[in-house]
Symmetry: C2
Amino acid sequence: MVSDKTIARLSLYRRLLKVLEGEGVRSVFSQQLATMAGGTAAQLRRDLMEVGYSGTPNNGYEVARLADSIRDFLDVPGGQSVVLVGVGNLGKALLSYFATRRSSLQVVAAFDSDPYKVNRVIHGCRCYPMDSLSEVLKGQTATVAVIAVPAAGAQGVAEALTRAGVRGILNFAPVRLRVSPNVYVEDIDMTVALEKVAYFGRPIAGRTRKEPPA
Amino acid sequence: MVSDKTIARLSLYRRLLKVLEGEGVRSVFSQQLATMAGGTAAQLRRDLMEVGYSGTPNNGYEVARLADSIRDFLDVPGGQSVVLVGVGNLGKALLSYFATRRSSLQVVAAFDSDPYKVNRVIHGCRCYPMDSLSEVLKGQTATVAVIAVPAAGAQGVAEALTRAGVRGILNFAPVRLRVSPNVYVEDIDMTVALEKVAYFGRPIAGRTRKEPPA
DNA sequence: GTAACGCTGTTACGCTTTTCACAATCAGTA
DNA sequence: TACTGATTGTGAAAAGCGTAACAGCGTTAC
């Protein structure tokens, strides 16, 4: 129903609101928050229509209240468990990146086929052998997974994950995954991203190119 | 002129074509290639209009020729140099990820403020001290940069990079950068991406959500 | 040789997303 | 109280993007 672009921006707004809250700011105008987010005030107000929190015309939005409203809209009440598959260079970086205790999203398990990594605890997360994936996920109720394995193994991992009940996949492998249509896949293709930047940042031509929304 | 979505897909097509080439496939139909890329044949043909290579009606596209045409369209003839700023967990992972010798894009230098990392060679790339950035870039003609520093330092890094002549930035820091409009910035916000996946993959509602293009 | 078929290039259409614009609303002020 | 000024919520226009449809062309079969 609500567009994924809007969801992404809401997530960003919330993070910015948390920063403001930490600075002791009480209220904020759409213009200010939108500028921080790299968007326009109109777009922010339209995004906020979805969450159902209304600001007051002359005082803007109450920072804490708006953050709470976005939380209520985005987060699942009991929180969601996340598993990571592939503990290579990238996987380790992602573990440390996502290790920050987020109230709603927590990485509960990592998987790797390398026996040297198994049973080690990396950035606070236990690493299990790859073939125990379905078994370990039976205990957890993980709905979200991150794939950080080489391209060749990604499709198989995705299938195992969906069989284990995973509903959303963040895929870093440079492959388009074929999954059931009720599983949401977000691809982060860093090579493509770099080539895009290289193209628009190329030396001579393509001068005045406005930055598109992320 | 040409949309960034199209550029991203062209980059993806090229990679797929290279795979096909490696498998000895000579020609390919728009339908096949589009399926591999997770798109439709019509979209692929439309994207290919930009590069100016025409397939033959009944034989599809010559794999090698099409790959060359996309290369001519995307790449800068002499190649482009890339620098990476921030050699933490993520930065190291990116170095190993991008270390694959790509003909056109090569990471020529890394920067970090940690003196213990300086002058070390990581994944084949020398690490320089942060404050030598403008000096080192004076020698190189790097037009592309990757930012993998913590959020607090990203804006300053971006400014130093643009002063040094960088035209495109791939930004992994969870901050929206304020840069001159003729510098292209692509944000990869992994936290937002994960929250998006969590939202659409949440257990109960939001069932039939089609995967959007990456 | 000719007809039928299949795939491409391109134009036109429709949908999604963003932007614009304005009525409604509230604080401050005299 | 009545008025000004600033900001929000939202309907309507605009833009961007993807999809569908079709004409053109080369190939193949007979």
